[in-house]
């Protein structure tokens, strides 16, 4: 796909008692998350892109029209250069792992879309020892890795992943995530990644589309979308948070802590495998952040970041308020009670200290800076 190309999609129609009306533009590089609660229509969107479900609309991928209702154009699913990874691996039970991997490879006509050959994919996904096994002799995580390999070997121009980790337990998830990250680094292959798991999105995606009840409610860079306070119904309160980038300063191997700089302010995180001056991506959930008007003393929380309240969004009929705190360069979200807002007399512009109880960080070191 040519650089700068995009995926332009618009689908609208009724699907089994459910109205879908979604239009979006995704970059043709990197992972774009299609995010939302279950039943929001995100899988339907992916199926429409693959052509497995047909809804009125249009779809253009990197300059090629796949669907256009004005001209009656609808490319049959088997003519679309996509790779599709389903939630359940759905390997062909009558074929060995090798037979599954080569099924699409033998049929593809998509010449050098990603130039991947069999050995590369097997190596990348670590499935060499499994090649002669039957699918039913594999673990859930192994099966899903084979399914990913099978999709890649069909040499797609666009990879579609429908919650590929959702059916797996936590250990299998952790087993696969590094492979997905490795894919990102190795292939210049755009990915649409359907998920309802904010931590997956934060870890993998650079761009995201948020759906709610069949409608798009937000679209943009992951960091920017996560900052927004108005997306609760779609993103869920529990996982709401922001992604910020920090720079590694040094490590304390004894205490297993990495000292980093968050836009000039010191921040400590559990030991990260990244050298000094590397950019790392941190996710801070709103519910893990408290606010204080003075710098607290005698407290176990190590990360206290000075900032200014930028926005306060009180949630009527609940005890809570969502706040956005500008820390000079980035903004973090804090979920506090409305009573605290009143007691501390917080208003936009108030000087505060954000007390961060927990930080999830993406293990991967980023070369470039994140906005």
């Amino acid at each position: 796909m040519t650089p700068g190309a995009t995926i332009d999609a618009a689908f609208a129609g009724r699907l089994g008692g459910f109205d879908l009306d979604v239009a979006f533009t995704a970059p043709a590089t990197g992972i774009t998350a299609v995010f939302g609660q279950s039943g929001c229509g995100k899988t339907s969107v992916l199926r429409c892109v693959a052509g497995l479900t047909r809804l009125p609309g249009r779809l253009r991928v990197g300059g090629n029209v796949w669907q256009d209702d004005y001209s009656g154009m609808f490319l049959k699913p088997y003519r679309r250069p996509v790779g599709y990874v389903f939630q359940e691996a759905s390997l062909f039970p009558h074929l060995s792992v090798r037979g599954n991997l080569t099924y699409g490879a033998r049929r593809t006509t998509n010449g050098g879309a990603n130039g991947l050959v069999f050995d590369d994919v097997v190596e990348l996904l670590g499935i060499g020892p499994l090649l002669d096994r039957a699918p039913d002799a594999l673990s859930g995580g192994e099966r899903q890795r084979v399914a990913i390999g099978r999709a890649l070997l069909a040499r797609p121009s666009l990879l579609l992943m429908d919650e590929p980790l959702a059916a797996l337990d936590r250990f299998a998830k952790e087993e696969i995530l590094p492979y997905l990250e490795a894919l990102q680094d190795t292939l210049a292959l755009p990915v649409l990644y359907v998920s309802h798991d904010m931590s997956e999105v934060a870890r993998l995606a650079s761009h995201m589309i948020v759906l709610n009840k069949g409608r798009k409610v937000a679209e943009g860079e992951v960091g920017g979308v996560l900052e927004r306070l108005d997306l609760h119904p779609a993103t869920g309160r529990f996982e709401a948070g922001v992604i910020v980038s920090a720079r590694v300063v040094n490590h304390d191997d004894d205490l297993k802590i990495t000292h980093a700089s968050l836009y000039g302010q010191p921040i400590d995180i559990p030991l990260v495998d990244a050298g000094p001056d590397h950019e790392i991506r941190l996710r801070i959930r709103a519910r893990d952040v408290s606010l204080a008007t003075e710098r607290p003393k005698g407290i176990s929380i190590r990360n206290v970041i000075a900032g200014t309240v930028a926005e306060i969004n009180e949630e009527k009929n609940t005890a809570y308020a969502e706040t956005l705190v500008d820390i000079g360069g980035a903004r973090i979200r804090a979920r506090i009670t409305r009573a605290s807002v009143r007691d501390l007399s917080l208003t936009p512009g108030s000087r505060v200290y954000a007390l961060i109880k927990a930080i999830t960080f993406d293990r991967r070191a980023y070369a470039g800076e994140l906005r």
């Binding site: 497995l52 088997y78 599709y84 359940e88 759905s90 039970p93 009558h94 049929r107 006509t109």
Partner: protein, 227 residues
């Protein structure tokens, strides 16, 4: 001394009839089973009912209509006229046509069930891996439905071997042409040739046992392999 050549003739004829019928049914029955399994047409259950009719109809009723259809004034007679014959009734070809109708439900039903058990997902996967529907039929549907084909072929073969009423109606009792096992046994009993009847009937008993027993074993093997 028994005349084994006389006994062998109906056995050979029966095996030939059952083999030709089974092959014909696999060729005709597979697209019907596929359509019944995958179509969303309103008419499909009507077609399924027509296919299943021989399960309920007395073989003489089916045989009667086939006799009319295959006779000189029916479509069968017209086809026979193309190569100078007068009728398809009382011929081996006529028996094959009758057996195809008679054994159709025993072949179509297991294959249809096997196709339905596959579900949509493998075909969606195949489509996203560039397989056209025709390609996916051969590379996914047929291999996955293999147990259904084995069951259908065995049942179709065995059921044709055991056919009596229809044969009697449309085939009569012409040695080497339409005199199959079941008719031969009936004939021997009628003419009090008990020894010959015993040999053929005992052979059928063993055959039936072997068929059902090996089917059970095969299905258990498939069930294990499918896990």
């Amino acid at each position: 001394m028994l005349d084994f050549a006389e006994l062998w003739s109906p056995i050979r004829l029966t095996i030939a009839l059952a083999t030709v019928t089974t092959v014909a049914l696999l060729i005709i029955g597979t697209p019907i089973a596929w359509w019944l399994a995958r179509s969303r047409s309103r008419f499909k259950e009507i077609v399924a009912t027509v296919v299943a009719l021989p399960l309920v109809l007395p073989p003489t009723v089916l045989g009667f209509y086939l006799l009319v259809a295959l006779g000189p004034d029916g479509p069968g007679g017209m086809i026979a006229g193309l190569y100078g014959a007068r009728s398809l009734a009382f011929t081996f070809e006529g028996l094959v046509i009758g057996s195809v109708f008679y054994s159709m439900p025993f072949v179509v039903q297991p294959i249809r069930n096997a196709f339905e058990a596959i579900g949509d997902r493998p075909f969606e996967v195949a489509a996203t891996l560039r397989a056209s529907p025709w390609d996916a039929f051969w590379s996914v549907a047929l291999p996955l439905a293999r147990p259904g084909f084995v069951t259908g072929a065995v049942l179709g073969f065995a059921h044709t071997v055991g056919e009596f009423g229809v044969v009697l109606m449309i085939g009569g009792n012409i040695p080497g042409e339409t005199r199959v096992l079941s008719v031969a046994i009936y004939d021997y009993v009628e003419t009090l040739q008990w020894t010959k009847a015993h040999i053929l009937a005992g052979g059928m008993l063993v055959f039936a046992f072997v068929v059902i027993f090996s089917m059970t074993l095969l299905q258990r093997r498939f069930a294990r392999a499918g896990k």
